[in-house]
């Protein structure tokens, strides 16, 4: 293969980093990628990016990991940008102009200069580095909004209908610029430290592999967008499980009855008919601050799956419990405002604002006991941190006895169960408790645990 020296190492390094992020890349694909490099050449970086993405990736979500990793292994430049480090005022002026023109190339250049001029910290070789946070904190691109709007309107006249969209457009451009700064800071750091290390650590994993408990707003928003596709996938998987479950068991009585016409030889096995019972689902969700991201996502997912069940009831609690099924209504689906709606529309807290599983579960058993019957599968979502109060095991036992199955999904990693105020181990003795830290795990659990 006639790829220039060093490119092979970079390519395998890139593949290694992708693998570390859970993208499964085989040797065959790596070879294809090398052939792509050969066919496309190294002159145009964007071509190379698309070529490698086409050969190495297999799914849409993986692109979010690929782009930052690619930027590390095939950087746009090396070292500091040419020229003197710019001062803040000058940078802001040029940034405002570039944002007004939506000039991508200029924005990328400015990001490099900004990180160089404003992002450096530390002085000794071990502790210094480049920080995108510090760069953005000093540059404050978000405060340029009014200025950019002014200059765009001045230029275009600004009376058309589409100009009411201008603010959002500028915000999107600023957001893109923040991304560029982050990329640039990672590149500069990677030049100092081990590139492989940075690629593994500093690149955010795909949204479905982010811990619910540590996900930031953007990641949660990204997750919410995956609810519908995930629900569709799960629905197909559930349907397949139903089909399989409907086959297989032989109805002995009817098989023998049928065999009489063939002289007692059971030529045609008769399979047992399944009564088409759609199971009922009850969801008990801890929506207190610490785990609300997890609960919101799961509630939306179950709501999206609602046509798979005869009845879905959702209850939310912090230290008091209330039914929120109506708030999840499909027609009004506004996933972003969900937690706000639940907070304002339901009584979830009593005297204090911290979660109390014992009281909430006790109240559920008392007030909504009839929601749970022999056909009901109950899911409890929460980290089982009861703030040192009584876990109220009799209530859980009561629910577990009445329900068909009870599953507890805990967004904390297993190693932390039982530490501090966590009552996870005692609950786990009564009901099945599973670790569910990421959307991917949740998808697998839901596909496996949901009753058919």
């Amino acid at each position: 293969m006639s790829t220039p020296a060093g490119v092979t190492e970079r390519l395998t390094g890139l593949v290694g980093a992708l693998r570390a992020h859970g993208v499964r890349v085989g040797t065959g694909e790596t070879v294809d990628a090398a052939r792509a490099v050969e066919a496309l050449g190294l002159a145009d970086r964007e071509l190379l990016r698309e070529g490698l993405a086409a050969t190495l990736l297999h799914g849409t979500g993986q692109r979010a990991v690929f782009d930052p990793v690619f930027d590390l292994y095939f950087p746009r430049g090396v070292g500091a940008p040419d020229g003197e480090p710019a001062d803040r005022g000058d940078l802001r002026d040029r940034l405002a102009a570039a944002l007004a023109d939506d000039d991508r190339a200029a924005l990328a250049r400015l990001a490099a200069e900004a990180v160089d001029g404003l992002g450096g910290y530390g002085s000794s070789p071990e502790s210094d580095g480049w920080s995108s946070y510090q760069t953005l904190d000093r540059l404050r691109p978000q405060t340029l909004l009014a200025r950019v709007r002014g200059s765009v309107q001045e230029r275009d006249g600004g009376v058309g209908f589409a100009d009411r969209l201008l603010d959002d457009e500028i915000r999107r451009r600023i957001e893109a610029f923040r991304g560029l700064v982050a990329t640039e800071a990672r590149r500069r750091v990677a030049e100092r430290r081990d590139r492989d290390e940075i690629a593994r650590r500093a690149v955010a994993p795909t949204a479905d592999r982010v811990d619910f408990l540590f996900a930031n707003r953007a990641q949660l928003a990204e997750l919410r967008r995956t609810v519908q596709p995930l629900a569709r996938k799960l629905a197909t998987r559930l349907a397949a499980r139903r089909r399989r479950a409907a086959r297989g068991t032989i109805d002995l009585r009817r098989t023998l009855r049928g065999s009489l016409s063939t002289g007692g030889v059971p030529l045609r096995p008769v399979l047992r008919r399944r009564r088409p019972v759609r199971p009922e689902l009850v969801l008990l969700c801890d929506v207190s601050g610490s785990v609300s991201g997890f609960s919101d996502f799961t509630m939306l997912l179950v709501q999206a799956l609602h046509d798979q069940f005869s009845k879905v009831r959702v209850f939310a609690f912090v230290n008091r419990i209330d039914e929120v099924t109506a708030l999840l209504d499909h027609g009004r689906a506004d996933p972003e405002g969900l937690s706000a709606r639940i907070r304002s529309g339901a009584t979830l807290t009593g005297w204090h604002g911290s979660s109390d599983y014992g009281v909430a579960l006790g109240e559920f058993a008392e007030r909504y006991g009839d929601a749970v019957g022999p056909r009901t599968t109950v899911f409890v979502l929460g980290d089982a941190r009861t703030n040192m109060s009584d876990p109220n095991l009799p209530a859980v036992r009561h629910i577990a006895e009445r329900a068909r199955r009870v599953h507890w999904l805990n967004p904390e990693q297993r190693a932390l169960w039982g530490t501090g105020d966590s009552a996870a181990p005692v609950y786990a003795e009564l009901v099945e408790m599973r670790e569910c830290r990421t959307a991917r795990q949740l998808g697998d659990l839901v596909a496996g645990l949901l009753p058919v």
């Binding site: 499964r24 085989g26 065959g28 694909e29 294809d32 052939r35 792509a36 066919a39 496309l40 964007e46 071509l47 698309e50 070529g51 993405a53 086409a54 050969t55 990736l57 297999h58 799914g59 849409t60 692109r63 058309g160 209908f161 589409a162 009411r164 969209l165 959002d168 457009e169 999107r172 919410r224 967008r225 596709p229 569709r232 996938k233 197909t236 027609g331 009004r332 689906a333 506004d334 996933p335 972003e336």
Partner: protein, 285 residues
């Protein structure tokens, strides 16, 4: 097939398909590496159109396999023409068994379906396997054999190997996760919504009567709608529909009334319409 990526863009553009850099690069690589191309993306961004455009620029015949739930070997690969075989048997009553047997499993009685058609013959072909996610998992196994070796085994005739590899395009709406094995054999291309500038060019190309300023406003509004959290965001197809509608309505600029009256063309759910109206500061509908 193509000497360079720019050549791909230019030639696709001649047929009326404006490809992004990403699309052109991937098509170029697929042709160069001889691998099938798996195209995913939301509905209405031109996945199927891409295959048609490639067929047109390369002067190939387009062979299309539309997948649906329950599509099977006899619909996708080949089938024996049973009725004709029976006729043949009853026509030659006095033949020996050996004569009849060799005869009725000949070319004449074979009904080739898209996959076999794409492999046989020397003329260049583009094989489009549309909506692969709709087909059952068993179908994927069949595709694996065809796509990796470009050969098909018919027990009575032997193995048929492609004399000329077709350019294969598989499309998927991600309704079902395709198996890893199938993905591995393909180059992956995700066609998302185009950048503003490209979409403007698409609108101008497809709806030539539309003024430049109006085209720009249309694309900007669509871009804003896509940034919203809607149940069904408008796709390129909807953009073009909307542009056509505006042309029909005789609008030369966008204003509240026009947008309000034609929002139904781009948004297909009532709650989406309400949400968009609120966001765009339209008066109540």
């Amino acid at each position: 097939m193509f000497p360079s990526v720019d050549d791909v863009s230019a030639r696709l553009a001649e047929t009326g398909y404006l490809a992004s850099r990403q699309v052109a690069t991937t098509v170029f690589l697929a042709a160069r590496l001889g691998k099938p191309l798996l195209v995913e993306g939301p509905a209405g961004v031109g996945k199927t159109e891409l295959a048609k455009a490639v067929a047109e620029v390369t002067g190939s015949r387009l062979v299309r396999l539309q997948c649906y739930e329950g599509v099977d070997e006899s619909r996708a690969l080949y089938e024996w023409n049973h009725a004709k075989q029976l006729l043949r048997i009853s026509a030659g009553r006095d033949e020996t068994w050996d004569e009849a047997r060799t005869d009725i499993f000949g070319e004449e009685f074979l009904l080739p379906r898209p996959l076999l058609t794409a492999i046989r013959g020397a003329e260049p072909k583009v094989l489009l396997i549309d909506e692969t996610d709709k087909a059952d998992v068993e179908m994927e196994g069949l595709l694996l054999e065809v796509l990796s070796d470009f050969q098909v085994t018919v027990p009575e005739l032997g193995t048929i190997t492609a004399t000329r590899k077709p350019f294969v395009v598989l499309t998927s709406n991600a309704g079902r996760e395709l198996s890893e094995a199938l993905r591995r054999r393909c180059l992956f291309l995700h066609i998302g919504f185009p950048e503003e500038e490209l979409e403007r060019r698409i609108v101008r190309l497809k709806v030539p009567g539309l003024g430049e300023a109006l085209a720009e406003s249309v694309v900007r509004v669509i871009g804003a709608l896509r940034a919203m959290d809607l149940r069904k965001v408008p796709s390129v197809a909807e953009t073009i529909d909307w542009a056509r509608t505006l042309l029909e309505l005789g609008a030369d600029t966008l204003d509240e009334t026009v947008v309000r009256d034609s929002l139904g063309v781009i948004l297909k759910h009532q709650d989406d319409v309400l949400k968009a109206a609120a966001k765009l500061d339209l008066d109540s509908l």
